[in-house]
Subunit: 115 residues, 2 copies
DNA sequence: GCTATATTCAACCCATCGGTTGAGAACCAA
DNA sequence: TTGGTTCTCAACCGATGGGTTGAATATAGC
């Protein structure tokens, strides 16, 4: 993995299990066991995913008796959002040019009939 | 790699070379050679990166004589931005709780003196 | 101290990633 | 047809990722 923050963040988000874990954590702290419950995965696997999220700065861990509760820290997502935000004008443009393209298909020649 | 769109998008963004390529493409179409020029990488490597971006739907390719110009298609970024956007309230909250935490450090007991 | 629960560590497996090199394919130009 | 340019394919390589299992650690309760 590349070592910069943005790469770690995007790499962490590239796994659906980890995204689901973040979604769960958005509802509050959770232990490894609670995070593992929706998945058919070993605790060790969840523990590894948690470390990836931790290395990306997306979760922090605490200690409560045997438990190591994880807590969401969404700040790296702000940076990621900023990066993507720079392209916002391009996805509007993409929609526009798609619209233009579709308009181009609306020729009198009606060999295609779908909308 | 997981097969869903969001995972492909985030995985594509997790590599700094690919992010740089997208940045270049935001200034307009570019050939493989033009994309390769800023990097000390073989054409084949750039070609592979382009395919990752293509599979994520982030670039489309054309044909112009020997050239296979690549063009940015930012629409998958809109979806990624939406996903991250769901967490916006949490990164404000993170800043707030950090502020609260730092306030907590401002106790009369001045054993620590850093800000 | 012993035992149960929660979590992590260590070793391993296999698939994928990012890179290379060298051969091939597509296209233009003489 | 021969050659030059641009790009992709195929085979390979070492490193990383996501998963497993089994042993170790940390803590609580008796």
């Amino acid at each position: 993995m590349a070592t910069d923050q943005l790469s770690r963040t995007f790499a962490a988000l590239a796994d659906p299990t980890r995204r689901a874990m973040l979604a769960r954590l958005s509802q509050g702290e959770a232990t490894v066991g609670q995070l593992a419950q929706p998945f058919e995965l070993s605790f060790a696997a969840i523990s590894k995913h948690l470390r990836v999220l931790e290395n990306a700065g997306l979760v922090s861990r605490g200690r409560d008796a045997q438990y190591r509760p994880a807590q969401l820290d969404a700040r790296p997502l702000a940076e990621a959002s900023d990066w993507i935000g720079d392209y916002a004008r391009f996805w509007s443009a993409s929609f526009d040019s798609l619209a233009g393209f579709l308009d181009g298909l609306q020729q009198p020649d009606q060999t295609e009939k779908d909308t």
